[in-house]
Symmetry: D2
Subunit: 345 residues, 4 copies
């Protein structure tokens, strides 16, 4: 067994673990590496040894050694990153609320939604102009016309605009309208696209792929960071599991885990994460309680008539109630979520 000590582990902690290893009847070999100290425990395997050693003082883990990502790592930059763009501020105690329709459908729809979500406390507007759809026969978005409508909604409300970009050759176009570029779950490992948004000046909201591990997500972020773009917002939006009562399984433990491993802010998408409007608000509140730096939520003036994702969209009243509950929980935990009336253009 290999006991990996924390980077800053003290001499006393290492000595303590050596004694613990020997107390298990094992022989301890201390190997002082260039960055860390590890202890190889030699001998016949003892019950509980691994489990027991894992909770020792100064112990990072028992077995795997170094994380594969670098720039994203909290070991490299211990203090949390706060990303601020226009009305949206995320991370380091600031909780952002991004809301809007799945797809931009019309001027009336996007502007009325922007006003309603701003009134309820949202700090950014979401809306899809280029839509990745499972079927080629589904509505594919209004494309550039949708981007123009988003910009118009920003003009009228002051809300920063978050919207998806699907392809390298659309990055410049989308970046000319959007405040934050969203990379969707299906493109999380589209490395050319990651490089392209890494080369843009816009902050990037990077959604976790439906079966991506934490290392894969952080390495995808690394592709963007590595191009010189430091403003990456991670987004948990649910994973593919055997569960069938929700569209995806929303694993909120990724929030504290990611806070432990990376300095980047983490937002949660309870709309895709559950796939049912009646589950969205409870999971939004739970995400805030788990420590999320923000939420991204689908809201539509008339979900029943939405061109996409209506079944998981909140109407204005439902969103207001959700935001209010989130705010109460954030405050109970010592965080601030700006109430609607403090937001000015």
């Amino acid at each position: 067994m290999i006991v990996v000590m924390e980077k800053g582990a003290s001499r006393e902690q290492v000595q303590h673990m050596v004694e613990r290893v020997e107390g298990l009847g094992l022989k301890a070999h201390v190997i002082v590496g260039t960055e860390r100290t590890v202890i190889a425990a030699v001998g016949e395997k003892r019950e509980h040894a691994k489990e027991s050693l894992e909770s020792g003082p100064g112990v990072a883990s028992v077995l795997p050694i170094l994380a594969p990502y670098k720039v994203a790592s909290r070991e490299v930059k211990p203090e949390p990153t706060q990303i601020t763009v226009g009305s949206l501020s995320l991370g380091a105690g600031s909780v952002g609320l991004i809301a809007g329709p799945c797809s931009v459908e019309s001027e009336e729809q996007i502007v009325s939604t922007a006003r309603a979500v701003k009134a309820a406390g949202a700090t950014a507007l979401r809306g899809g102009a280029f839509k990745p759809r499972t079927s080629p026969y589904s509505f594919q978005g209004l494309k550039e016309q949708g981007l123009k409508l988003l910009a118009q909604a920003r003009d009228e409300t002051g809300l920063a605009v978050v919207t998806e970009v699907m392809s390298t050759d659309e990055v410049d176009l989308v970046a000319s309208y959007a405040d934050v570029l969203q990379v969707g779950a299906r493109n999380m490992q589209n490395y050319r696209l990651l490089e392209a948004v890494g080369n843009s000046k816009r902050p990037v909201l990077l959604k976790r792929g439906a079966s991506a591990t934490m290392d894969e997500l952080l390495l995808a972020a690394e592709y963007i960071l590595n191009e010189g773009n430091p403003n990456v917002i991670l987004c948990e939006r649910g994973i593919r599991t055997f569960e069938e009562h929700t569209r995806f399984t929303l694993p909120l433990a990724t929030v504290p885990y990611l806070h432990h491993k990376t300095h980047l802010p983490i937002v949660v998408d309870p709309s895709h994460g559950t796939g049912h409007a009646y589950l969205v608000a409870d999971m939004a509140v739970a995400a805030i309680a788990a420590g999320a730096d923000g939420l991204i939520v689908e809201v539509h003036p008339d979900p029943e008539r939405a061109l996409s994702d209506g079944y998981q969209s909140l109407n204005f009243a439902q969103f207001r109630e959700m935001a209010e509950r989130c705010r109460r929980v954030a405050e109970a935990l010592g965080k601030t979520m700006a109430p609607a009336e403090l937001l000015t253009r």
Copy 2:
């Protein structure tokens, strides 16, 4: 039930299936679509009907319409069930806090833990006397001696005792000491055990199996309810997925989903659900925010030296801090969690 015929199904095949449906005592409505024919089977649900019809000639699939559970269903009993046993009260606005070590190890250990968790606001004591262990070479628990120590801890603190029962022939013994019988995740579909705890007078805490669907969990509860024991507490403790940064994936959306489908109370186990002590408190708070009726949390005086599960156990100070945060969030959402000082024997 809806019987969907294959695209090229013949008239004879459709007629055959109509007769099969009617042979089950159901009424058949044939609907000829532009591409396929479907047969709606109307009437009270019959055993085997779905499975039996699925293998008919020309049948593409059979779509069920009704949930398979009955007594557990919220449609049958709309108001939430509150379960109260000694110091523990769960459901209908009352949030219970069950805490204690993975295994009972000694009088000193269990009694000191009981006092500490009670002081922090716990309303019941957990502790394993019969331990299901993955390996036959692991510590298997103190067995009846462990039960006696749990009873002693109850005598000294007034906390209700929750402990696991693993086998039909141990039910009477465990029930003679415990206030609540726990059925572990690995036994969720041990139907003989479900029948046996259903026949005992004790409330049952039923843990979700690591790959159980919601229907399977509710049908397991149905086995217990069906024997005349109405006091079933459901427990979400995490599922097996591809994620490897946590021991299990803890899907909190099951909490609002279950509240929608069943009147039974739901508790969450953030200890097994994450497998890492540093993630437990955030997920406990998130579970309360998602609407859980209670928590079951592993606490140990000295996790590093625990005989089992030390890596996911909180120490007393960590548990106190967790309970305090949970209480603040519960209050922010209009629920009550009894503070420690109100608990009397």
Copy 3:
């Protein structure tokens, strides 16, 4: 489509949904069951119909009846599609064998591998020039130089070349060297890329995403087919599950399932599907037995020194033994796999 109403749905809600169904141009059949009411919606499938109806008042769920893909469906084209390009022939009884290194590394490496796999019976050469790598710090491939080496290996052996394309703006370049364009698992839902390869003249080998359902895979194929490119080869390469003893879980039941649903040929990748060289040959043989139309296998002159995927690559002798066993099983099942000596340029 079948709209299932909630148990307590009101007459007004049912009437509302009937009007919504009819508003979509579909005919509504109301079936009043003993416990619930369902509405059968008959007619040609409409875009958004399912999603839109799901958010209606009093609706419990909407059950689809028709598969969402069209051109890929076996119902549209019952006879199997055979794809032939140069030395490679797949489908309709013809079993192809695609083999070669994960990455093209040098002239010596790719040419010697091409010769060795051809001698063992391979009918096409694989090799990555543009490599999608999880980490930005990993070897990214030789790019155009790699394509040139692949073309050289084809010149010297006559083997058709299969290689991956990662981005829309590389399609023309890759298509100018390759016989078959491979779309990797991570790009299965990169819709712009699917459209781009759909517009090229080359056959496409489309790998299943690690968490893609069958419908999602066939709809991704549909994006390509829909652009007028009929030559799509589906590839099962393993899925993400909780299993940790293999890199992915290789679910061979997809082979007979896909043969049932689509006319397109299906190949299996036992290298990525297992992630361990010692498991590759047994799973290759099993794939042939399950009915696969071909295999794509990683082979390297010296796996221990490969720049990528060495741990799952076969050496020449292992590959020869694997091919021989596959051929014996194919013959036992009445299929033909061309022996090496019949292959001429």
Copy 4:
């Protein structure tokens, strides 16, 4: 990184790996343990290092040290175990074929099935008398009457009887009728039951739990072996994944993996593993090709009218065709499956 050498690794292999580690710019510490040699590689992490080292000569793995199971391990007993009981022989080149209905329903049903499967080459009869059912309202089996009918079918055909036992207090009863005791997937971690069948004299067919890892399966076997019963047959029957087109996902790579890790024979259940009769035969053949020591298959005289699992049961003609194809593939791979006519009572 820790390179774990194989138990019998030669001095040359160890030296080779030390050089490989040093060739990566890392410092190598050789630690000669009581059972194995490991090499700790110290220094800054190099790309591919782990992947590259994993394929070195004599390398068992890179990182985790000892498997948790002992008696089941191939390192303890290198030669494969063959289990023979009456007409059934499994392992070490002998391929067994266990077939019969999901549930015993009547004398006519079980005896006719036994005759038909024997005529097609089956070497044992399966049939459930005690049935674990997801719902308490489903058919629970004929219980002791079912066991008597199985014994009668054995009397008339000479086929060994395989049947499930669900509870400790039924072990003696079931063992008095059955040749092989089956432990179902849902009871794989019912440790009291494992101990009880471990104490019986009967061979045990142990089904993998739907979300059990390989270590968990082998440790469950270890519970049985540890009680002094050496005759454990492992059974792969499919796992819970996100796939919805099959009832479970059948991961055949477990067959060669288990052959690598344990000396115990492995059978495959393509009926539960797919859940659809039309997929069973192809997966049965694939399992044989992957190296399975046997199959367990559901067969019913009239699947459409079966009391359970009809949708995944073969009729007599389908089973005969399946067995014939399996036999051809077994022979092509140098194994023997007894043809029907050689079986005598």
